[in-house]
Symmetry: C2
Subunit: 170 residues, 2 copies
């Protein structure tokens, strides 16, 4: 359906069409995944943001709060409270920074590590189910590309402190 036709057409037309498809699909996907995350996580009494924070702490080693807030694109005050929740649940521990008395270093606890692994396992199963519909070669290319897309999208985001514009509520 897309193969020969798309190539003979002007690149612009297919880009337009694909852009629309992508936009709509991404909109829907984000919405669905938000929902799925809520659904999957609330069982375990952890929120999506807390889960992201836990993952970030695990993946990127000991982190300061500032680094975490940058990684999640959220304000440091939000990060502070999210982390407070994780600490209360025993998934994350704070230690003081060896070289900076103001700063805090966040570590995942062993419980936190196991807990996160469980969740990751579930999400992995979900992703594998999704992927298993596709041919192996295509699958590999596509995952690589989505990954690249995520990075590209991330790169374009202005992470300057999660600053928004005027939040003038109507």
């Amino acid at each position: 359906m897309v193969s020969a036709d798309a190539i003979t057409r002007p690149a612009d037309a297919s880009l337009d069409r694909e852009g629309e498809t992508l936009r709509d699909a991404l909109t829907e996907l984000v919405r669905v995944l938000q929902f799925r995350n809520r659904d999957c996580l609330c069982d375990r009494e952890i929120s999506a943001t807390q889960c992201h924070a836990l993952e970030a702490v695990l993946e990127r080693g000991p982190l300061t709060l500032n680094a975490l807030s940058a990684a999640l694109y959220i304000e440091k005050s939000t990060a502070s409270r999210v982390v407070a929740g994780l600490v209360k649940k025993g998934y994350v521990a704070k230690t003081s920074h060896p070289r900076d008395g103001r700063a805090v270093l966040l570590h995942a606890t062993e419980t936190g590590r196991r807990f996160c692994a469980e969740i990751q396992q579930d999400l992995l199963a979900d992703c594998k189910r999704l992927l298993s519909d596709f041919d192996p070669e295509i699958r590999a290319a596509m995952t690589a590309l989505i990954s690249r897309m995520a990075r590209a999208a991330a790169a374009r985001v202005d992470t300057s402190g999660g600053a928004c514009c005027t939040v003038d509520s109507v």
Copy 2:
């Protein structure tokens, strides 16, 4: 549903690996897009959810509140308040349902339509910029995949009105 042994999977290891990549990329993508949406929309003093609701009303014609909440996977009370915001801003109008005195029909106003088109245009530009980095054939495959993924993910979500903790799909 097809049981695992009914299908011969030649590349289980690669599926594992790709599943992980996909999971991580999706996590990041969702986060980035949430942020982008916030950032892009707050300019215009509309929230992501309100925007989704407006889109849904536009795309699916006159909708009842129940239908809207199903489309967005949110509780009807949430939908009610989100719509209240849109009505206050003049983007959506309520009319009474011709055949059901309890129900309400939601229409987008002309202002709402134009407003949504603007936003969609911006997001489209964004998606096109993203896509333009890739080769046309790959691009097409990628959009198709994301589109399909969104549908697949949506299909697996329990849309029974935003109910939480109904994880049967693991």
